[in-house]
């Protein structure tokens, strides 16, 4: 069936900000969808609140709305744009949920919009627990015995019927938010309570726990005439019980005999047929390891994280084909792009092993539980390809950048390894390794962990090898080759044995081609192996000069999708300039790892050795490190030492910016101030430094991303505690102690060609210094900056950029305190704000920076020099957090970054942009407050003065004030009526007020002390569950008041099409 010609204008819904459970994979999927639609000559209307995406690029769609992703706003855009069709299956759960709401509210019908791909009935059948179970029952597919509960009583009754342990799964939540395993009634009550609140329809599923069974997934496709294929099978190394997003996953399934494999494959295809899926669909099964008994866990009737993984694991572009199917094409009509000859209606054959390893944010949330369960906690993941499971696993482990290059990791808790094996946490695989090394048998470990013996035996191969070479001064040729086959880097090997000199190894690279070499393919998609014949070295090349671009690895807090955006744009520009561009990255969720983004893709870890091995093959004229975040920057010195040219800002310039002493000297030279500070290496030095500078001080290690381990200390006690923690883990570089000044923070991205400087835009943060820039609301253009200060800032930026020898981008952060301008930080690379500023100013910053790197001059680029003109709009970036998933994490904003994503609000005024931004970030701002609306204030003593004006403003807006005793006393004294509420430790009053919906917002800054931290975390968790925003900075509270006062609502903002912004 050829394309449906009645489809002319399609709305595509993106997935919004990056949160745990919904990461960059939807940008990859959405970008593929947009490209397919555009290639078909279809008008594309795109809606996504996330600016850091490729899919919101000018060329991807005709109309682009960076607007809040809620049904009201999308309805307004439909009304304005009148698309004839809607493509929702590529925007994750967010996109699918909005599509369903649009359908339920009759919006689609009213405006004659057709839903492409799976229809509402199919989505309903897959998503609604009861409908799904009925459908499965009808086709004889076993599901886990379970009951639906709408109340706590029903949940308890259900669990009694089913028998403990049970799993609680809330309906319609992302990544299983609010779910968990309950072993008894007490646990059930707690979990079910949470689940019922988290579910938008207040419904949970109480299900028989099948923890310990094998977890198997199939990525399937179905078209409108009923062709079905299973693109890829995947097996979770971690059995059922740990969310698949938090599991180590292999592809294809490795422990299934054909009989089991085909049984589950057929089940998948029967299921998607019965559900009437049109497009990609993920099917998850639990398989009893001791029989053929299985149960369907769930299906996701859309493109998902797993399908992104399957696409990269096989080379089969699921999102692209899903879009084509949605347009009416059938699988047998679509060609397999990779072979160019064969048909897309086939199942990829792999001739390698793929391992996916999650990237968790626990380094950011010390003290938060590392236990893994049915609720996903990982922010991102890496994928590794190898000829053996061992090699792929080793690549994956070092690729996650956890500081480990083998499975040797210090344990997190005390106690015998046998006990620790029972801990189902992020370090389990390392504990398993430790156990194997200590001689505990595979059977014993299997008994405790239920991890299949096959995996354990393979890990034992690694343990045995390490034991066999441990401490050896010289390795035999056989031992060295074996090490390489098992996936050890030379550096890792030198840590295990004591061999000073290793002979070196020449890796070969094999191609990922969907067909195990059965057909000739020209896919420029490679992975390293120890086989003899290298397909990359013999790959046909254009003869153009080669440039290597380093990607940014897994998505993590502090290094998100923004860096993939920049890497991809750099690749595109360099290709356009006539270079042969090679990209190295290991993140399966990204556009950069699409095999047709660069001229060649190496799906490899971003470590010095892995990158050098690729350089050995590609012989590039230079390497680009500026766009891959800290992951790429980290490699600069190593590459420079090995004589590899760094394109753009030199290794010398980068060091100048990163080395504190050298940087201070530079600042002195230009008489630029920075907060006074010093580097220390011991506890005593730290205390002394703090005393010299005067409290409060900012403490942080050097060379970190996202403000890791950064804190504000107000006392010697806090300083001592911090230093003890830091010194315990050992430090190579000094700890920095800076005077903390609570001023206004500004951020600027600068492009320099060495002679001239272009400043695309300046952002001002709502939150004062002390809150990490990534967690601050950033406003463009600045709303409170004097002309003199603006001039000064431009002047300093220009001087610094030139002095650092910047060729390309540099990000500078400033602080204004008592009318004095200070420099806080300089990052000699593309920053998090590049996509945001590029989109609102219309300056293709990465494109310009890439050209400059290769010697082009800013003067010739048509954007002028100096500060660029301000467009007729205001834009506000608002951070988005994932505390629903990490509900025991400390949510107080501080110098350590905690947000996982961001949204943008664009408006005619700052207030309008702020309203949109906050709304897009999930903060509900009622258009009207009634007499019952209230806010709870609980602030630290140092904030007593400042809370008064905030209290007064809330009061003036007609909002009832509640406050904890100390805060209440202060407010009362000012003559403002306030209800005093007892502290959380003393009574349940705060909780019951929240539950009675009397409190709409929480303003809480009183958790600076350890003693009050527990209180705060508990209150915050409850607030999250009830959907009550909790603000931990008085500046954010001030912004909130501004927008409440501004009377903006979801219906009176102006919808902004950023593709036509410049012509306004």
């Amino acid at each position: 069936m050829p394309k449906d010609k009645s489809i002319r204008k399609v709305m595509v819904i993106g997935s919004g900000p990056i949160v745990i459970g919904q990461a960059a994979e939807f940008d990859y999927a959405g970008a593929q969808a947009c490209r397919v639609l555009k290639a078909e000559g279809i008008n594309v209307v795109l809606v996504n609140s996330n600016p850091a995406t490729i899919m919101t690029d000018k060329a991807m769609a005709d109309e682009i709305y960076l607007e809040p992703l809620n049904v009201e706003t999308v309805t307004r855009i439909i009304k304005k744009e009148r698309p004839d069709s809607l493509l929702a299956g590529l925007g994750g759960q967010t996109g699918l949920t909005i599509a369903m709401q649009l359908s339920q509210r009759g919006v689609l019908e009213r405006y004659g919009v057709r839903l492409l791909g799976s229809d509402i009935e199919a989505i309903d059948k897959a998503e609604d627990r009861e409908l799904f179970r009925n459908t499965m029952k009808a086709i004889g597919q076993p599901v886990v015995s379970s009951e639906i509960a709408n109340t706590l009583d029903e949940a308890v009754k259900a669990a009694r019927n089913i028998g403990y342990p049970v799993i609680v799964r809330p309906a319609f939540t992302l990544g299983g938010s609010g779910g968990g395993i309950a072993n008894d009634e007490a646990e059930l009550k707690a979990i079910a309570g949470t689940g019922l609140h988290m579910s938008p329809i207040h419904q949970i599923l109480v299900e028989k726990s099948i923890a310990g069974w094998k977890e198997i997934e199939f990525e399937t496709m179905r078209d409108s005439i009923g062709n079905t294929i299973a693109v890829c099978s995947m097996e979770n190394l971690d059995p059922v019980g740990i969310h698949t997003g938090d599991s180590i996953v292999v592809a294809p399934a490795l422990t299934l005999a054909d009989k089991e494999y085909q049984m589950l494959r057929s089940a998948s295809l029967n299921m998607i047929t019965a559900l009437g899926i049109v497009g990609g669909c993920n099917c998850q099964f639990a398989l009893n390891p001791d029989s053929f008994e299985y149960a369907v866990i769930e299906v996701n009737p859309r493109v998902s994280r797993s399908s992104a993984l399957a696409s990269k694991a096989t080379g089969y572009p699921i999102a692209k084909i899903t879009t084509k199917i949605a347009l009416g094409y059938t699988l047998d009509e679509i060609k397999n792009d990779i072979t160019g000859k064969t048909c897309a209606c086939f199942e990829p054959a792999l001739d390698y092993v793929v391992v996916k390893f999650p990237k968790w944010p626990f380094d950011k949330f010390a003290g938060s539980s590392r236990k893994l369960g049915t609720q996903m906690k990982a922010t991102g993941e890496v994928m590794a390809i190898g000829s053996s499971f061992e090699a792929a696993l080793m690549k994956a482990v070092r690729g996650t950048e956890n500081g480990f290059d083998t499975l040797n990791a210090p344990s997190l808790y005390d106690g015998p390894v046998m006990e620790r094996l029972r801990e189902q946490d992020d370090r389990r695989i390392f504990t398993v390794f430790e156990a194997l090394k200590s001689g505990i048998s595979v059977d014993k470990i299997h008994e405790i962990t239920k991890i299949d013996r096959w995996f354990l035996d393979k890990i034992r191969n690694l343990a045995d090898f390490e034991l066999s070479v441990a401490g050896k001064k010289k390795l035999s040729k056989e031992e060295y080759i074996r090490a390489k086959h098992l996936g050890y880097t030379d550096k890792a090997l030198q840590h295990i044995c004591r061999a000073k000199k290793l002979p070196g190894y020449r890796f070969s690279y094999k191609m990922v081609d969907t067909c195990a070499a059965e057909f000739n393919a020209e896919t420029p998609y490679f992975y390293s192996t120890c086989n003899e014949v290298c397909e990359s070295r013999s790959f046909k090349r254009s003869g153009k000069q080669v440039i290597l671009v380093l990607g940014s690895g897994p998505i993590r807090i502090g290094q998100g999708i923004e860096f993939d955006y920049s890497s991809v744009h750099c690749v595109w520009t360099l290709r356009e300039m006539g270079y042969d561009v090679v990209i190295v990255n290991n993140n399966p969720e990204t556009v950069s790892t699409d095999y047709d983004t660069a001229d060649r893709l190496y799906f490899e870890p971003l470590t010095p050795e892995d990158v050098m091995n690729i350089i050995d093959v590609e012989k590039p004229i230079g390497v680009v490190v500026a766009f891959g975040g800290q992951t790429a920057i980290k490699l600069t010195q190593f590459l420079d030492k090995h004589g590899i040219p760094i394109l753009g800002t030199s290794a010398e310039g980068i060091d100048l910016a990163e080395d504190r002493a050298r940087f201070d000297k530079l600042l002195e030279k230009f008489a630029i101030s920075r907060p006074k500070g010093m580097g220390v290496k011991t506890l005593q030095e730290a205390v002394q430094a703090a005393e010299t500078l005067g409290y409060p001080v900012l403490l942080r290690p050097s060379y970190v991303i996202g403000g890791q381990n950064m804190t504000i200390s107000w006392s010697d006690d806090q300083t001592r505690k911090y230093m003890k923690n830091i010194l315990a883990s050992g430090i190579e570089n000094p700890v920095l102690v800076d005077k903390y000044m609570p001023g206004t923070e500004l951020e600027v991205d600068v492009i320099s060609d060495g002679t001239d400087v272009l400043i695309p835009g300046i952002m001002e943060h709502i939150e004062r210094a002390g809150v990490h820039s990534g967690d601050s609301i950033a406003v463009y253009p600045p709303y409170n900056l004097s002309g003199t200060m603006l001039h000064k800032l431009c002047d300093r930026s220009t001087k610094l950029a030139l002095a650092l020898g910047t060729k390309g981008l540099v990000n500078i952060q400033y602080l204004i305190y008592e009318n004095e301008l200070y420099v806080i930080e300089v990052n000699p690379r593309a920053s998090r704000t590049v996509p945001y500023i590029s989109k609102v100013t219309g300056i293709p910053m990465v494109d310009i920076a890439s050209r400059v790197m290769l010697g082009k001059k800013l003067k010739d680029m048509g954007y002028g020099t100096g500060l660029y003109r301000t467009p007729p709009c205001h834009a506000v970036k608002v951070p988005v957090f994932s505390f629903e998933k990490l509900n025991d994490a400390n949510a107080i904003l501080g110098p350590e970054m905690k947000s996982t994503g961001e949204v943008l609000g664009i408006g005619k005024t700052t207030a309008e942009a702020l309203f949109k931004g906050l709304t897009a970030a999930g903060l509900t701002i009622p258009s009207k407050f009634n007499m019952e609306s209230g806010v709870l204030l609980s602030v630290a003593e140092i904030d007593y003065q400042e809370i008064l004006s905030i209290a007064e403003q809330f009061y003036d807006l007609g909002i009832k004030l509640y406050a904890t005793p100390g805060t209440a006393e202060t407010i009362k004294r000012q003559g403002i009526p306030v209800h005093s509420v007892s502290n959380a430790t003393e009574s349940e009053e705060i909780y019951s007020l929240m539950e009675q919906k009397k409190i709409h917002y929480l303003i809480y800054t009183g958790a600076v002390k350890d003693s009050t931290m527990g209180d705060f975390i508990a209150i915050h968790r409850r607030a999250m569950q009830l959907g009550i925003p909790c603000l931990t900075s008085l500046d954010t509270a001030g912004a909130l008041i501004r927008i409440i006062a501004s009377r903006y609502n979801l219906n009176n903002t102006e919808l902004v099409d950023i593709n036509h912004l410049q012509t306004v």
């Binding site: 005439i225 009923g226 062709n227 079905t228 294929i229 299973a230 294809p252 399934a253 490795l254 422990t255 299934l256 005999a257 054909d258 009989k259 494999y261 085909q262 494959r265 057929s266 295809l269 390891p289 001791d290 029989s291 699988l331 047998d332 000859k341 064969t342 048909c343 209606c345 086939f346 199942e347 990829p348 054959a349 792999l350 001739d351 390698y352 092993v353 000829s387 053996s388 499971f389 299949d452 013996r453 096959w454 035996d457 393979k458 094999k510 067909c515 195990a516 070499a517 059965e518 057909f519 000739n520 086989n531 003899e532 014949v533």
Partner: protein, 355 residues
Amino acid sequence: METAYLVLGNGKVFKGKHIGAPGKCLGELVFTTNMEGYLETLTDPSYAGQIVIQTFPLIGNYGVIEEDFEGKSALKGYVVRELCDTPSNFRSQYQLDEYLKKQGIPGICGVDTRELTRLIREEGVMNAMICSRVPKDLSAIKEFAVTKVVDEVTCRKESVYQPKGIKKHTVVLVDYGAKRNIIRSLTARGCTVIAVPSSTTAEKILSFKPDGIMLSNGPGDPAENTFAIEQIKKLVGKVPVFGICLGHQLTALAMGGRTEKLKYGHRGGNQPVKEKGGRTYITCQNHGYAVIADSLKGIGVETFVNANDGSCEGITYPGRQCFTVQFHPEASAGPLDTGFLFDRFIAMMEGRENA
């Protein structure tokens, strides 16, 4: 493990480690892209005379499960990248290496199986030898040919398989090297299956008064089997006939068509086959020869085509109650998606479906 060599007819040598039975072997080198199902592959009689390369690098993960066997191993040698010596599966009985030793199949591991596959893809199927010393003279390798292999793998005497449940039909299965799942697929549908050797005459076959005749898969060049072809000529039109793989090719030859040798065949579980006027199915395949559809113009109608290369995957002979397919509806190893063809065969025997 001892060093072993895989020596190709074109002179290329791959060094690896010896696995399986001791000694050397000579055969036609082919590859299969199935990622699982190595037991079914090893026990598929259609591999007679061949050395099989597994393109998936990890083989033997679930050990040996005898109930999954499709027949008696007839292949000459086995090539894998990594052979698992710590299998894990609830049904696993013993290691794969032990099976190879028991069956007298020599093999080699630790070789670049992807490069081998690329070589065969580019140069076509070639002969090869697994040995411990590289021979100076390659003529033995070059001259090797797979001949008379059906005789090697067909059953020696007839046997009867009882149906599951109530008996509905009697089917004579002409065994050219039949996979057991063909028998299981028929008995599961209420057929009594009488398996007979390939040397059985048409008269003898018809003497069982079958409701239908199943022509099985099998190894080698179809054109060699002149006796079988003659018998099929006498059978088609008399009772419903269903042919699979070699059975499909032999029927085409019997009906006056021609077959050709493919450059490197189709072996794996991911081959797309389009039913003309219908949908596309993912099929299990193992064949080196194909029917030339044009050679059957006016006699047979091409009903299935390979969606990758357009080769013939199925023929129906109108008015003769005969249909044949190149792929394997009995799967094992591979997708079960075309099992409905057995239902069609049943329907034909019941007079519900005409070919």
